[in-house]
Amino acid sequence: MPIVVKRPRLTLAEKCYFPALMKGLRITLGHAIRILQRKKKVTMQYPEVKWDDNLPEHYRGAPALVTDEHDRERCVSCQLCEFICPPRAIKIVPEEIPPGDEWQKVEKRPESFDIDMLRCIYCGMCQEVCPEQAIFLRKDYAITGVSREEMIHDKQKLYEIGGKREGLINKWNKLK
């Protein structure tokens, strides 16, 4: 069933377009004047002024790895983040934790963990999929570098950004 939309009947003033035009000019002029009088401030002068303190809790910045209270690296390199990562920014090489290590019972850890920040789209899927609560999106957003190599965050850099995070579920406790 086609819907018939009736064309509105325009008055003469509307037809000659002039009042509407004037109205438009008035609106834009109003905005211009308000900005000129500094009654309204919208733009922030970025590098000098930053919004950092007002970033919301759920803000998604650079992904990073975290260690727990006992300085254990939480990542066990299950590679689920590598799998889920839509732009394929993550590359993990797993290794076995050698005998004698304090956390040998965890058995597995990443030998290398690279996130290519040129590819990362900050979607947060890695954080969502992580079964070990090891990867989190931090509030860092100004990720810059002068070479491609510099933009690949390796394991050390990721732990540097992520730091220690307490109060997470401790799966590898004494009972385990």
Partner: protein, 378 residues
């Protein structure tokens, strides 16, 4: 034999006018465009580029210079599939007519006894139309030589649009010329200086209390001519709301899609130069050109003791008056651009052919009738 000064003085005028006035104005109208559009949209716009290596920002006044450098340094890419000759010719053909037309615009009264106009032609408006109609070649050639679909469509749109609006542009001017009975733009401005601007007939013989009844009745046809003329200038310069030839949403960038670097910049500059000349023409014809309102010119001359030639300070005042008016119009152009949405192509053609063409034609007869009735045939 031609005197050396006869060659030198116009040469100085040309160089100063083009390189010290028009081109910087073009560059800074781009900056103005960006700043004005920004404040209209509650933004800031380019406000950082100032003096290099210092922290002095100058409200971003360095932006046009850095833009210019950028345009010069960018790769000038010529696609392999284009017609090289016309592809190179087209940008020049848009820029040159725009700058040529300023030859006849009187941008001041006199300075040190020299008339402030490059060529004081007796057929000023005709010259302008003749030259301005050449600029359509630049666009058509750009569209055609690019040998790709979007520029081609842009070129077609542009040519038909410019040809259509030239008619109403020309016709809307006829009443003005009827009123002044004059084709010399300098003379027209002087007339307005003494007897009231065409749109502000409030002093001299144009004022109603001084018996200027004809000008009172002629005010309405003049206003109509002004509106038609101004709107047509918008269309002639391909500016919003009539920028269909380069209409980004449909045609990428229209006729200059394939252009880059300085060749692109020439199109860009050509458009702004045409806008400045258009504003100059409107100011000259309808708003008294370089003259000050309310007979101030005459009063200031009296103050100077009615000398033979205009004193240098008054000459400078006149030049700046002209520039202030032109800048005002440029800002108006920008203001309109960031207010109105783009017309549909059929609406544009309808406006040109069905509304403006008839109105302008009618306006000629009304003006002629009023002149016939109010002015006694001397």
């Amino acid at each position: 034999m031609i005197e050396l000064s006869e060659l030198l003085v116009p040469a100085i005028k040309i160089v100063v006018l083009v390189f010290a006035v028009i081109l910087p104005m073009v560059a800074y109208s781009v900056w103005a465009e960006r700043r004005v559009s920004a404040i209209i949209q509650d933004r800031v716009g380019p406000n950082r580029v100032g003096i290099p290596f210092t922290k002095i920002g100058l409200a971003g006044l360095g932006q046009p210079i850095s833009d210019g450098i950028k345009f010069l340094l960018k790769e000038d890419f010529t696609p392999g599939h284009v017609n090289k000759l016309y592809f190179w010719l087209a940008p020049a053909l848009t820029m040159v007519p725009a700058i040529l037309t300023c030859a006849v615009l009187p941008f001041g009264s006199e300075l040190f006894g020299e008339k402030m106009v490059v060529a004081d032609l007796n057929v000023g408006p005709l010259f302008i139309f003749a030259i301005a109609s050449l600029s359509v070649y630049g666009i058509v050639l750009a569209g055609w030589s690019s040998n790709s679909k979007y520029p081609f469509l842009g070129g077609i749109r542009s040519s038909s649009q410019m040809i259509s609006y030239e008619i109403s542009l020309g016709l809307s001017l006829v009443p003005v010329l009827l009123i002044f009975g004059e084709l010399n733009l300098s003379a027209i401005v002087e007339e307005q200086s003494e007897n009231g601007w065409l749109l502000l007939p409030l002093w001299g013989e144009g004022a109603i209390w001084n018996g200027g009844w004809d000008r009172f009745f002629l005010f309405f046809p003049s206003l109509l001519a002004f509106i038609i003329f101004t709107t047509s200038i918008f269309a002639e310069t391909n500016r919003l709301p009539f920028d269909l030839p380069e209409c980004e949403t449909e045609l990428v960038a229209g006729y200059h899609t394939e252009y880059s670097s300085m060749k692109f910049a020439l199109f860009f500059l050509g458009e702004y130069a045409a806008m400045i000349i258009g504003s100059g023409l409107i100011v000259t014809l309808f708003l008294g050109g370089w003259s000050l309102p309310f007979g101030c010119d005459a009063a200031l001359m009296q103050m100077a003791g009615n000398p033979e030639q205009v004193p240098w300070w008054l000459g400078l005042i006149h030049i700046s008056t002209f520039l202030v008016k032109v800048v005002g119009f440029i800002i108006f152009f920008i203001w309109v651009r960031w207010t109105l949405p783009r017309f549909r192509y059929d609406q544009l053609m309808k406006l040109g052919w069905i509304v403006f063409f008839e109105l302008a034609l009618l306006n000629i007869f009304i003006t002629a009738g009023i002149i016939f009735l109010t002015r006694s045939p001397d």
